[in-house]
Symmetry: C2
């Protein structure tokens, strides 16, 4: 059962490694022609997520091209609100939407508490299938959205720029929002535990929209619930060894608070200097990040140089998982990803001697 | 010539005031029905900017409703690239666009060096007219975009989410980008000096997109050029007394660097705690901000409470100009702005005893 590539898990646990591991947010995605073919075969994005064989297929695609140190389950953070009864859809070119939105206590009360092995069985089946196919070549990462981030989509009814409805609820009816966040936290806990029991070897919580809060609201409406989730997972016998990564986009300056959640690693975007962040967290957690994704628009030579700068900022020792500060863009060149992956492995060896 | 309302300028200069001054980013804007009427009269946004009488009319509208402590020239940051020869247009509901975009050294070389009193005379005429109409009731703020922020629009050809073209140039051809930023800096300096000579009493540089850079790139591609602009304005005899505010959205954690520019005040968005930021900058500069604009979606009672929290974070003494952390949204209720303005004046008096 031991994984043949221990770099990723060992780095998350701050154990020695031979080179810095790398995986890439949205590594299975539209920038790959084979992904676009799978998606076309599926007909639409949601079918791709809901068909375990196709989710497995696209999860493995980037590993066939690049020497990545981890796979990440192909899915979407909105599977949870969908299973809670909001009826998710994706319109081509428009992003996600829900047929039911959350605007009141009554709406929150009506949300279901999904059983991951029934309403979200398609996800667990995908995990089992991917885990089998990976054959312990590299570890598999499971994930969920943070309660705060999920709530923004559930309340707005899709993506938003102004967060009008969510923040109206936060400021005018904080109790209703807290009720929703508690309910979501329970669903996320069960969902992540089920993913772990189905075979994922690390989990990541994506708090894509935590960074649009002020520091006080971040602690009250986002971090509090992520901490609760970490706590419950760590208290579950089958899960307590599994590393947990928290990633709040735009939250790099709040790492001292995030450390208090009990997570094993913190993801940071490119707007912070990794050396500063390492000083702030000390030996308490590993760090994941943080190359500006747009560096992938540059030439392979520049990519190597910029990757080297990030490695140098983290410096010697374990506890660094290389990643972009955000996902790959659809118009990026796969060959540039290859250049990055190879550069990280090559240039990082000297920091692990 | 002395202004009847000295709160805003005195706060920028950290001199004593009776209450904390407040003005609001995009205070002249779509949330006001009278603004929408003026815009309809103009036919389109660009005509509104380019017709001094209409620009004056909309600049004064919020002052007729609210007890604001400053007026801000109604204009757009893209007047400069337009005057440099890029041929700006606004399509209804689509935002700005340029008929010519900047992609190469040749494109940069072909940019014109506009004379503010000819190619941008409509702005200076608006300043003179507004200054006359204001009759020193409150000070008038002039503004420009930061060279970095302007460059993103000029290179992308409009608004962007990924900054693909700009960052490609930054990583692949930094020298070309630096050439563009230098040329822009010269135009911004001349533009702001001309505004000051036409009657504005403070200037603000909007660095809307500085926060999407990593800390090192921010210093090299954005802050460096803003510092150069501050330096040149401060060395101009007619301008050296005029306070300068720098605002990098998402740059609140870089205030220690921003202080080094020699500016008088730093604007910060709502993702930082004003008390922390005040500790970092000490007595060196004033601070402007930083209420989450979405608080305006809440009830007047909540608005009062949240305004009180920001005032308390800044605490006693001068050097605070109250503002939102970003502009008013078009769907906000003007009555909520009135509640905020009154709350700030009322609740701040105790910090100035």
């Amino acid at each position: 059962m031991t994984n043949k590539n221990p770099r990723f898990i060992n780095s998350l646990l701050k154990k020695p490694v031979d080179a810095t591991p790398i995986w890439i947010m949205r590594q299975a995605g539209r920038y790959l022609p084979e992904y676009r073919a799978s998606r076309q075969k599926a007909g639409n994005f949601l079918t791709l997520c809901k068909t375990p064989e196709l989710a497995c297929e696209v999860t493995l695609q980037p590993l066939q091209r690049f020497d990545l140190d981890a796979a990440i389950l192909f899915s979407d953070i909105l599977t949870i609100p969908d299973a809670m009864g909001q009826d998710l859809y994706f319109k081509e070119g428009e992003g996600p939407g829900f047929n039911k939105v959350i605007r009141s206590k009554k709406d929150v009360d009506q949300l279901l508490s999904p059983d991951p092995e029934s309403e979200l069985k398609y996800v667990m089946d995908a995990v089992r299938l991917i885990h089998h196919e990976l054959d312990n070549k590299v570890p598999l990462i499971g994930f969920a959205g943070s309660p705060w981030t999920l709530s923004t989509y559930m309340i707005e009814g899709g993506a938003t720029k102004t967060f009008q409805q969510t923040k109206s609820m936060m400021f005018n009816e904080p109790d209703v929002l807290h009720l929703l966040l508690e309910k979501l936290s329970q669903s996320v806990v069960q969902y992540l535990i089920a993913q772990i029991e189905a075979g994922v070897e690390a989990v990541m919580i994506f708090d894509t929209w935590g960074g649009i809060l002020n520091p006080q609201d971040y602690r009250e409406f986002s971090l509090k619930y992520m901490s609760l989730i970490v706590d419950k997972i760590k208290k579950t016998a089958t899960c307590k060894q599994v590393p947990i990564i928290l990633f709040t986009k735009g939250g790099g300056h709040w790492v001292k608070d995030i450390v208090g959640s009990g997570c094993d690693a913190i993801g940071v975007d490119w707007t912070v200097n990794l050396s500063d962040i390492k000083k702030q967290v000390g030996d308490k957690v590993a760090l994941q990040g943080n190359l500006d994704p747009c560096v992938l628009y540059a030439s392979p030579e520049v990519i190597q140089q910029k990757a080297g700068e990030i490695l140098e900022q983290f410096g010697h020792g374990s506890g660094h998982v290389f990643n972009l500060g955000h996902g790959v863009h659809p118009d990026m060149n796969p060959e540039h990803i290859a250049a990055l992956v190879d550069a990280v492995h090559e240039l990082s060896r000297k920091y692990h001697l």
